[in-house]
């Protein structure tokens, strides 16, 4: 037991000392790991941001149904009940004529002429029902329901998804689906490539020192005692690379959000990305360190294996 503890600390110490003495190789390995870990982290944040943007867009999309002024309250109630019974309907919001007017006034508060043209006594705005769907791709069920002659009779105008908007909604729905899948695939691919690159880097570093392993073997060192320091060394690569990659990505977001203030780069909302990163900072740091240690240690374990075999031919 005492021997085990002594050996454990010797392995830790040797690993650390070797790390310092091979600083040039260590730095090379770390820089490769920093780049790959940064790419993975960045793609993770960007993917989360995309997915947030997509959610915001799809949440804004709803179907507006405009009711004739002649429609009674009980008719409206039945209509809403029937709508809610449809499988793809997420929520139904009813606004009567006064509410629609107030909303309109709020939207056009700066334009006095428009506000004056429309007022309580002569309110031309129809009562409106906003419908949100669970799945924009399956909106046809709702459309068919609204197109029924009995239902159509209640409406003053065509629902607002129709025409060119319908295709827009369709396009967005399709794009979001593709983007989400792409995001997942990109992260998986990046992570896999990173692991391979890191593995190869560590393998090269250990290949350079295969003689050392064989010498220790000849002196009677056990497998664990030879391998241990290499694993410690690679784990140090992993920890330092993880810390550096988080620092780099952090500074990227700090500069980006200050220079691109509140601007949105297409689907990439830089403010959201920065917030998201800030909120999950410690989680990301812990995750990167864990990934770094696991990939580093695992690579070292595998890479030392072939040099640790007892070279014996019968």
């Amino acid at each position: 037991m005492k021997r085990l503890i002594i050996n454990f600390f010797r392995i830790l110490q040797t690993g650390t000392v070797n790390f310092m003495r091979n600083i040039s190789i260590s730095l090379a390995a770390i820089s490769v790991m920093v780049v790959t870990l940064s790419v993975v982290l960045l793609s993770l944040v960007i993917s989360a941001t995309f997915s947030n943007t997509i959610n915001q867009i799809t949440n804004k999309i709803d179907i507006s149904v405009y009711l004739k002024d002649s429609v009674t309250l009980s008719q409206t109630d039945t209509f809403i009940k029937e709508l809610k019974a449809l499988p793809n309907v997420k929520s139904v919001q009813y606004l009567n004529k006064q509410e629609v007017l107030r909303q309109y006034e709020a939207q056009n508060a700066s334009n006095q002429q428009l506000s004056l043209a429309i007022n309580e006594t002569s309110n031309p705005l129809p009562a409106t029902i906003h419908i949100r769907a669970y799945d924009l791709n399956k909106i046809n069920g709702i459309k068919n329901f609204l197109d029924k002659p009995a239902i159509n009779n209640l409406q003053s105008n065509q629902p607002s998804y129709s025409g060119s908007l319908k295709t827009a909604i369709n396009n967005i729905a399709h794009a979001t689906d593709v983007l989400r899948k792409l995001g997942v695939v990109a992260i998986v691919v990046f992570a896999f490539i990173s692991a391979l690159i890191i593995f190869n880097t560590i393998r090269m570093a250990i290949f350079n020192r295969r003689d050392e392993i064989q010498i220790m073997r000849l002196l009677g060192a056990s497998t664990a005692y030879i391998r241990g320091p290499f694993i410690v060394e690679s784990a140090i690569y992993g920890i330092l690379s993880a810390v550096f990659s988080v620092i780099i990505i952090n500074s990227v977001f700090v500069t980006a959000s200050s220079t691109l203030q509140a601007s949105t780069l297409g689907l990439l909302d830089i403010n959201y990305a920065t917030d998201y990163f800030d909120h999950h900072f410690w989680l990301f740091l812990a995750m990167q360190i864990l990934i770094g240690i696991i990939i580093g240690a695992f690579s070292a374990y595998i890479a030392t294996r072939r040099y640790l075999r007892f070279k014996i031919k019968a």
């Binding site: 021997r3 002594i6 050996n7 010797r10 000392v17 070797n18 003495r21 091979n22 020192r209 003689d211 050392e212 010498i215 220790m216 073997r217 000849l218 002196l219 009677g220 060192a221 056990s222 497998t223 005692y225 007892f310 070279k311 014996i312 031919k313 019968a314």
Partner: protein, 227 residues
């Protein structure tokens, strides 16, 4: 202490055997010199003893350990019992002189205190005081050789195998090394030395085993160099 019984080692059929039915018996505390030209089989012999190679046929028993019954996982234990000075030193490039010697002690589970006490004494024996912090690449050939010797003797092994330990040394230093080996031998370690150096063999007056083309051509006590 060391027993080789009709040991044959063939690397490839085309080359013929590197060692051909060799039988050598070394008693405990004996000092044996193995001589022979390059390619005679000296290094193969040592590689068999350290279990870097397995004999094609024949039996090897060292210190009561039968190599036929030795499992791979027990090889480190075996090697810890034998001190070896390699022809090419085999120093660890990332460790300084002190650490190289200390490493051999670490492997047998020596405490920090033991290491601190023992290593300087051994470095003193091989005249390397003051070089503790030097890295191997900063040392001359002779100095490296002496580090290798210090590392081999620091565990006070029952058996010491030295492969051409004077190969890179000038005569004065060569004799320093030989005296260290004699001293260890006097303390009870069995020494197996291979060398080319005629003068050393002739002056030592010890048992000499001559190898030629993988065969023992002579094995005499108190002998001179002859092939």
């Amino acid at each position: 202490m060391i027993l080789l019984d009709r040991v044959t080692k063939t690397y490839s059929k085309a080359m013929g055997p590197a060692l051909n039915r060799i039988s050598i018996h070394v008693e405990p505390k004996e000092f044996v010199i193995v001589v022979g030209q390059s390619g005679a089989g000296k290094t193969t012999l040592l590689r068999l003893l350290t279990r870097e190679e397995r004999p094609t046929s024949g039996k090897i028993i060292i210190g009561g350990i039968d190599y036929d019954k030795l499992k791979d996982k027990d090889i480190p234990m075996l090697r810890r019992k034998i001190g070896v000075v390699f022809q090419d030193f085999k120093l660890l490039p990332n460790k300084n002189v002190f650490e190289n010697v200390a490493f051999a002690l670490e492997l047998v589970g020596a405490s920090r205190k033991e290491i601190k006490n023992t290593v300087p004494k051994v470095l003193d024996i091989v005249n390397l005081k003051g070089k503790e912090k030097n890295m191997p690449q900063e040392l001359s050939g002779g100095e490296r050789q002496r580090v290798a010797i210090a590392r081999a003797i620091v565990r006070q092994p029952k058996i010491l195998i030295a492969d051409e330990p004077t190969g890179n040394l000038d005569p004065k230093h060569a004799w320093d090394v030989i005296r260290v080996l004699e001293k260890i031998n006097r303390y009870g370690t069995t020494v197996l030395l291979t060398t080319h150096n005629v003068e050393i063999v002739n002056k030592l007056k010890r048992r000499v085993v001559s190898l030629k083309s993988g065969r023992v051509i002579s094995d005499r006590a108190n002998s001179n160099y002859r092939i």
